[in-house]
Symmetry: C2
Subunit: 167 residues, 2 copies
Amino acid sequence: MHREAAIRPYRETDWPAVWPVLRATFEAGDTYAFAPDSTEAEIHRAWVELPAATCVACAADGRIAGTYYLKANQPGLGSHVCNCGYVVAPAAQGQGIATAMCEHSQQEAVAMGFRAMQFNLVASSNERAVRLWKHLGFAVVGTLPRAFRHQRLGFVDALVMFKELAT
Amino acid sequence: MHREAAIRPYRETDWPAVWPVLRATFEAGDTYAFAPDSTEAEIHRAWVELPAATCVACAADGRIAGTYYLKANQPGLGSHVCNCGYVVAPAAQGQGIATAMCEHSQQEAVAMGFRAMQFNLVASSNERAVRLWKHLGFAVVGTLPRAFRHQRLGFVDALVMFKELAT
């Protein structure tokens, strides 16, 4: 399935298609920490301007099926560990897009010199994501008590997930 | 001992005394992720401009004995958890300054509405700090494999430490 998704670097002309996907995801308030009422400028900064790289996954018809960012998780002496975030368009769920993006991001990370990848705040209620990251080789290395304020469930634990990359 | 240290909000006139303390700490490359060759402007931004609050501990003679920052650890739905960093001046070590600053920061955090405090990257080799944070009620909630590039020891594990604050 996901072999049909072509993943390439983000271009600024992608934004009109990327922003609605990000907005819908963050408005739900069940996966990412970004405030549900974040402005377009705030999200553009966080997803495109601050990261070291941003990519998009394109469906066979050319439409945006997903997007991810990649950046160092810490400065200086922690900068060999990267952090990524992935969002799949609602219409493209269940097609392996997240898997394809995560695998692509790991290859990019290694090419950029990163030695490991860390997810800082995976809502424990997001069972599908936790299961997928585990399947892709990530381990739960920490549990943060009530660290995620889920918009429907209230305070839920957040997981720290980590994978050392083959370099 | 530490009752002699007066803790107050940072003022810009403190910088000439604060910067050498921060620089000496970060140059050692054994506790904080900031690159050992970070510039004064980079550290001013990270310690003073970006955080929600910065404080200093003053010795009886008025000299800077230590400093800390306090900020939200994540945006939006993770912004009820704060993050702090503490640095004690070499000449003021062993006088309870870190304890006094940590206790002060917890009170400040509660006053600002935070519900918990998280340290993201405590070098496991920094045994004195780990022992102190545990003594002050923090738990090790995660271990990040080889996530800290210690300038003498090479890659060492980093700990995630967490404390829920009485609100």
